[in-house]
Symmetry: C3
Subunit: 146 residues, 3 copies
């Protein structure tokens, strides 16, 4: 959680761009979550395999995100989060004249494992330790909370 | 919204096929939505990386779709939509002897942005303008509708 | 259903590994479902396009799964399933010193088609036949079950 999949035209992002964007994405979450929760996969797509509105595109960045560790409970929080995402993306897309689209799906905390562990619940001591150490380690039994 | 991801064997689709299929997919939505909402990404997968039922495959097209702008409210509408999708796919898959599978996920309208805008709600004047101009532009404040 | 997408570092899985892992994944489901329901797509990702916690990674396997044919009704079943998945993955990831993460999304049975058919409902004679024959064939009318 989160997994960011970034489809982008060939050659628009350098190695440094990808590093920088990944760090900026990770920073969105790192206040609350272990850093190693944040996965980012970049994938180049050639213009003849990438269509927007039925037309081949060489200037569009399409981002698909799955959120697992947290769901956002209110419309206001969701709106705020999307704003934060756009602020992070802006230097890499808008400021370079690229078009972009981003959407986020939310999936079940219970259908998730990291390194064979079921990740600790939000706010637990286990989660704090994972965050402090930036790696998974054995967790106590999870109380089933619905 | 929608994002179509099409995994396909190496070499089964020409540039013209991909163009034609993307246009046909876009047409499914264009009666109601701005054309530029429709993203299609084709990805070739080599037989040694593509397994169906545990066997390497060179004849299977696997399509995964995320719907964001609209959710389908009734079983009848969902059935109808799937039929429409299959009709669009048939010339590119069935009629060539390829096997295929397609599934659609529906994700939150509120966790979505295009070019830094939160897309206008269905049926609004903003959405009509986006559709008429086939590009995003500033939108009025969104009433939170739960 | 299920679709398994496996992002992995370059060169960590041989052709035989991918075959073996696909068969093991298929076996998880084959007690209940037609084998050909199980799709697995492997995708190599270069270290400069694959980031965990903001750092380029060459030792992480990130697995994303969509479940369609079945949803898991209780926390206990979900926990059990995730354990089963980890047991299947262990020889290919943990035992090789790779890190990994896996999450599963559940999507709508009604927004799914295979080879132009809407797959039969769980436990029906049609589904048994599909399973026995390991291929799709015409199905009777589906009762809408909400």
């Amino acid at each position: 959680m989160p997994l960011w999949k970034i489809y982008h035209p060939v050659g628009v992002f350098s190695r440094e761009d990808k590093q920088g964007l990944s760090e900026a994405i990770t920073a969105i979450y790192a206040r609350n979550l272990p850093k190693f929760y944040v996965g980012v996969v970049f994938q180049e797509v050639a213009a003849d395999s990438f269509f927007i509105g039925g037309e081949p595109t060489g200037d569009f960045v399409r981002i698909w995100v799955d959120h697992i560790a947290r769901t956002m409970p209110t419309p206001e929080i969701r709106a705020k989060f999307i704003e934060m995402v756009d602020a992070v993306l802006a230097p890499y897309v808008r400021d370079r004249g690229l078009r972009w689209e981003c959407h986020i799906d939310e999936t079940s905390y219970e259908l998730w494992s990291i390194h064979g562990y079921r990740p600790p619940l939000p706010g637990t001591e286990d989660e704090k330790r994972w965050r402090a150490e930036n790696r998974p380690s054995p967790v106590g039994p999870r109380e089933v909370t619905a």
